[in-house]
Symmetry: C3
Subunit: 209 residues, 3 copies
């Protein structure tokens, strides 16, 4: 049931929070690799903005939101600034890159899938675009420092994004409350990802490999 | 000579076959690296879909075909599934990643060049876009597992795509039968690539390097 | 003050020179890694064309200029040819990849920022797009041969692009002579980058990292 709440603000909300959180994950990785202030900024921007840009380019929504709305850049640059001065505090969270990455994963999976549905994509492509939005920024971040991206290396990573995006499609089909649907999608992706790391869940390997 | 056959079905044909074949090459590489079911799916999707997406984004054909037509996703996901259960069978082909990669290279070089011509690009840019379509998916696949992409590492790789795409341009200029032109282009690229690996052909290095 | 000179030729000028110069940097890197003629061509094209393509895709200016105007491809292929036969001559320049990369960085930062302003982007996004144009080609070039991109590894790299792009925005705000503004922007970026390498300037690391 639509509730008179404007659709875009919720999407913007998810986008900006995801941008900030992924930006922090990129900047923390840069600090851990002992990069300088510019390396921190570049890795924060790459992690924060590239998932959403891939999504907007794929939807033909050019220029991407990150270039039209200054709040995206402010969120990404703000994340670099927070990490530059506060990285020791953030590091005390324990596995901060993993947890922030998991939250960003959920936020972007939901935001990407919602925007794809708004642009008229069918459910399956919308889910795939949600996953691409969610994993794109983190994959570029990892590639830039020559890591094999988390999405390949770690178990149950793509699954978390898949579940978040699928809940958005299900919510839309059931005409559920949009903000609740989004919250449930983000929470499900975050939980699946964190519990899978914590409990060491493994996805099956191909038989005989 | 145009023959009343609709242009798009042939292009779709080439695209879907290339998508499946590249998907298998990505999934086989993932199995060889002992990635889990999600890693296999992600690498299959990346190899299968990114070349065509680069092409469609460059042509301004958004959303990319892979998001509009569910058959692309089915082909890519199907390739992951086939490999998950059948990788030992496929591995008996001998050098399966190389052979499938060569077939996908030819299919995408031809499909990319044809679509570029349909969108009104000039011959030289159409050839370059054909090569980008052909090498893009494989390059991303290799980058994601931290390999130097085949297109740089291995001899005569880009040449095979170049020949396939050039034959499409020549066929269009001569108004040759479209399906035959496509078949000749794919076969030429496949043959050049496989023979070059088999015979150890080398492209020249820069003098004195 | 506008001076009756057409805006696009200057942009084209910057683009083509940047394309050639980045192409040479890519081809020189390929020679150093002992890649063959095709590897040289692919790395030259990737370094030369991808920054501008990212820019044009982000602006929705499709097909990208590199596919519409044959001079881009000629510049990129010409750079590969020059390096193939003249790499020993170029290598005598001392640090040729670094110097050419610095010049290309300045040219593309200015060209990218100018085009973004022409397309109506606000100053901050225009600066970021200028930086992306400038660092994109070099980052892909480095990623393709499995290096951590210079933009992360080396100090003051992104800063040089930032200064070049910012001077363009400042020049536009002051309605300064366009060609002079561009020249000052390119020169500033080039100087900052070269002096920073020469003097070993360091950007600050995060406190306590």
């Amino acid at each position: 049931m639509a509730d008179g709440m404007d659709v875009l603000p919720l999407g913007l909300w998810l986008d900006l929070l995801g941008t900030f959180v992924f930006g922090v994950s990129g900047a923390m990785l840069a600090v851990r690799r002992r990069l300088d202030a510019f390396g921190i900024t570049v890795l924060a921007l790459a992690a924060a903005l590239s998932g959403g840009m891939i999504r907007d380019l794929a939807l033909g929504a050019t220029p991407p939101a990150a270039f039209e709305d200054p709040r995206y850049l402010i969120a990404a640059l703000g994340s670099a600034l927070c990490v530059f001065f506060g990285h020791r505090l953030i590091a005390r969270l324990g596995k901060p890159v993993m947890v922030l990455d998991a939250l960003g994963l959920g936020l972007f999976a939901v935001a990407g899938c919602r925007k794809a549905l708004l642009f008229g994509l069918d459910p399956l492509p919308a889910i795939i675009l949600g996953i691409m939005t969610a994993v794109g920024g983190g994959a570029l971040r990892d590639l830039l420092v020559s890591d094999v991206p988390r999405v390949l290396r770690e178990e149950v990573y793509a699954l978390a994004a898949l579940v978040g995006a699928t809940l958005v499609v299900a919510g839309a089909a059931l005409e559920a409350h949009e903000a609740w649907t989004a919250a449930v999608g983000v929470a499900a992706a975050l939980l699946i990802r964190i519990v899978s790391v914590w409990r060491g869940w493994h996805a099956p390997r191909a038989p005989g490999s």
